[in-house]
Amino acid sequence: MAASAESLGSLEHIVLLAVLRLREDAYGMTVLREIASVTGRDLAIGAVYSTLTRLESKGFIRSWAGEPTAERGGRAKRYFHLTPAGREALRHMRDVVQKMSAGLKGLQVT
């Protein structure tokens, strides 16, 4: 697991967390909105999709097609859901950050 968690980039980490936060409503545009509203980062939809595709190829998320709607010009949504490997990768990243942050109390991070 450590090897695959190590290959989690910062944008991949953020997108994975957004998918987790959105639960059953995670698709391209909601992931983009979630990241924008929580972090203030204004990402390109292309960056979000290429990251989601990469995460899927790493086995951290899986996708399935939703129902097409008129508002989307008859196009279906592509929903994403975290896999157990994705959850493990997030847990690993959290542990790494906690360990690296331990003992930094009082130190100025500038």
Binding site: G46, Y49, R72
Partner: protein
């Protein structure tokens, strides 16, 4: 007018996006466009789409180039081109001998070569999906250079046919491959 501009932007977008992401992403953009149009008006919603297209384009171009593995694709296209050159020379010589026709500008040779080019493009596409597109591009480039630099006077039909036959035959070969022998 605005709808047409939106369609053009989305069409350009769809050319860059990978096949798997195309439908959901265009759907996402349309959904967001509708939401923003209601909130801030059509013009600002369109500007948002335009901005998304501009900042996403480099990401998709980079991703497509990485996926296409261009050195290998170009290698296959060059090999196919070499095969076409050999076939073309043989057919030109054979038809000139059999029909006592002009070896350089012979319509019969062109008709015989076309299905052979299709066959070569068919095989090239089987080896590498993007090889036919690279091959057609190479052929167009070569024909353009030859036309610009050739000193001899070529018949007009030959010039036009040369521009059309090679790329069209290549495209047809690739289409046949996709139709009858689709890759997994």
């Amino acid at each position: 007018m605005r709808n047409r501009a939106l369609s053009v932007v989305l069409w350009l977008f769809s050319l860059l996006v990978g096949r798997d992401d195309r439908e959901p992403m265009i759907g996402d953009l349309l959904e967001e466009y509708a939401a923003r149009s209601r909130k801030v008006g059509n013009n600002r919603a369109f500007i948002w789409i335009l901005r998304q297209a501009c900042i996403s384009a480099p990401i998709w171009i980079r991703a497509r180039l990485a996926r296409a593995a261009w050195p290998a694709t170009l290698g296959i296209a060059m090999l196919a081109w070499l095969a076409i050159a050999v076939v073309e020379t043989l057919v030109n010589r054979a038809t000139a001998a059999w029909l006592s026709a002009d070896e350089a500008y012979n319509p019969a040779a062109m008709f015989i070569t076309m299905p052979l080019v299709m066959g070569i493009a068919f095989i090239a596409t089987r080896v590498r999906r993007q090889a036919a597109a690279a091959l057609a591009l190479l052929m167009l480039l070569a024909v353009t250079l030859m036309t610009l630099t050739a000193h001899e006077v070529m018949p007009l039909w030959f010039r036009i046919a040369y521009f059309v036959v090679g790329p069209v035959a290549t495209w047809m070969g690739a289409r046949l491959q996709a139709r009858f022998w689709p890759q997994p």
